[in-house]
Point group: C2
């Protein structure tokens, strides 16, 4: 008898869908004429200065840089910790509270895998980065959605009543991205305090995906969850240079959290991938110390990206970057897209729209299958 799929464990995998993502076009003709909204910044700008040179130096050193601790080179973590503390507003112990991950995606996978057991309830903001739902489903957790109202006239707000109810119903983990991915909404300090307080009262832990936290438009305040009193022990913060900094091609990221969680994440990383590519880790030497003006210019460049469609006034609160799926369409279309959409089949390319609300675009919303809620 030959091996065949049905004979082996696969139930959890069959829930996953990989048709619609950057580079996945060859996976089916249906995908070829879709505009992909599932990922941002695929049209990358150059990475920050010095990133490649640092990797080249690590490669030239050979042995000494080819292997590292599973949690990353100490020589990378030590100087990085202070810069991450400045970025997130709370101290970071380089030995206990920081792990270098093969991209922020792996940070998310490790953190959720270390927090969610089968049957555990997880409160997930809607809309949010699609992978957190996929990972929780893979872990056989139960998702309790919490609505982010991003289409009203006032600044966007998370539905705290719904969050309270989710925690009351036993949610062990609260998953959010800040700025919200995909809408770009930045949470206010007040909202973050409320979210943390609700989570803490219910004994829930917060996973804060801050991948887009360096893509904040001028004049907007960006508080990091970790900066709030008591948060650093009750959350894991995921960051990395893949988006604003366009370094996704090296797959490096970082996770900050309490020592017990970082220890667990390292244990899991040791069997998942051993470590972040050890040469690539060196790219972080040049991260968060870019030349003055660099970040300002980069944020401006992202904002002026001709591949990014104009904002619609109907979408409120989009103060950060994310990749603004909301930007791409009118309120009606956004409501149809909702959280489940994977792409829009369109008669004209959304990227070549002449500006203004894309009312004339003929579109079909393609939704995720089997996403479970």
């Amino acid at each position: 008898m030959s091996g065949d799929a049905s004979a082996f464990a696969g139930g959890r995998l069959d829930l996953l869908d990989v048709q619609y993502a950057p580079g996945q076009q060859s996976h089916g003709e249906a995908a070829a004429d879709l505009v992909d909204f599932s990922h941002g910044d695929v049209d990358a700008f150059p990475p920050y200065p010095g990133a490649f040179e640092a990797v080249a130096r690590a490669f030239a050193q050979g042995t000494a840089m080819a292997y590292s601790e599973y949690r990353g080179h100490r020589s990378v973590r030590e100087p990085l910790a202070g810069r991450l503390a400045a970025l997130t507003g709370a101290p970071v112990d380089p030995d206990r509270e920081l792990i270098i991950t093969p991209g922020t995606e792996t940070g998310l996978f490790l953190a959720l895998s270390c927090l969610v057991a089968p049957g555990d309830r997880v409160a997930i903001v809607e809309p949010d980065y699609f992978a957190n739902r996929k990972i929780v489903q893979y872990l056989r957790g139960e998702i309790l959605p919490v609505r982010l109202d991003y289409l009203r006239d006032d600044p966007a707000e998370l539905d705290l009543e719904q969050l309270r109810e989710a925690v009351r119903r036993g949610a062990r983990v609260v998953c959010l991205s800040n700025p919200n991915n995909p809408t770009g909404v930045v949470y206010s300090n007040g909202q973050l305090r409320d979210i943390l307080s609700i989570a803490q009262e219910g004994g829930a832990f917060v996973v804060a995906d801050q991948l887009y936290s360096r893509l904040i438009y001028p004049g907007i305040a960006y508080p990091s969850l970790r900066s709030i009193d008591g948060a650093a022990d009750n959350c894991v913060t995921l960051v990395g240079p893949s988006k604003t900094e366009s370094l996704s091609g090296f797959r490096v990221g970082a996770a900050l959290g309490p020592a017990w969680l970082i220890d667990r994440m390292e244990k899991l990383l040791s069997i998942v991938s051993l470590r972040t590519a050890a040469y690539n880790q060196a790219a972080l030497h040049a991260w968060l110390i870019e030349p003055a003006e660099w970040l300002e210019e980069r944020v401006d460049a992202h904002r002026r990206d001709p591949g990014r469609p104009p904002r619609t006034p109907a979408v409120s609160g989009g103060d950060g970057g994310a990749h603004d799926v909301a930007d791409a369409a009118s309120e009606t279309i956004v409501r149809r897209l909702g959280d489940q959409a994977l792409g829009v089949r369109t008669a004209v390319g959304v990227h070549s729209l002449p500006g203004g609300a894309p009312a004339e675009v003929e579109l079909t919303v393609v939704t995720r299958t089997g996403s479970g809620h």
Copy 2:
């Protein structure tokens, strides 16, 4: 209430131990004076010519090479497939039967995760690469050990009766490395046929870790499991340039298997790490097409590595590379080390032994804790 470890899913993680591994010295003073036998080739030679240059070119191309299909750039897979077919003795479809992984470790994690459900029985050769046990334990599979007799005078042999019994008891998956890691034993064509046949009769799938398959000493025949009739549909083969080729610092590898399994592995990779670092994938452009003589010289260099202790005649059948934990000690010590040892505390450095059997070395075998069998 603040988050604390005991409140969250962690049982499976607590089984894992990361104290003893390259670069992990800072994780405890006890590890500092241990000689580590858990990984090989940490003292790396230079990678094959052109590897870094290929990555540098990919980086220079920016956007086009920063993202790839989850299973890897087609531009890398297409030319690589033919070379992997030559390496493994059976055709490889670049679109259906090949996935680029962030190191062979991730290939192993993905393959086992796609094959083993909680409670499934898995036959694992003993001794073998320690991570396959860890991964199966993490997946809550049940391990059925199958003894590889590598200490007899005749060529080493797998205990086929024990394998037959494991499959009879319901083992769904058979895990082996070839050359065996850590002993260096190369399986004969006859043994591979028998292993495949036993697996097929019982409906079991084979995971063949061939990471060391290019570190074969001169004059030794190395048959690949895939080269045997019917094997390609019933096994997944893991290869990569981390060992003989010393490219572990980039974390790239490849898995070859039937389309249904590669599809599943890609789905899981999409939530675990999205993809292998897309720039790094380009290093594979220069792999398996090294200049004539390069491999021969490299194998010879590994063999003459002054960091590699002399072989002991008591260890039979070590025809391939692996990292030869067996080489490092007398038969008695090897028997004590067995499969569970993580390191040896020694009064003198094993690596500075004057040659011959290290009878005078005072040692304490440090065993894995909580490894479950």
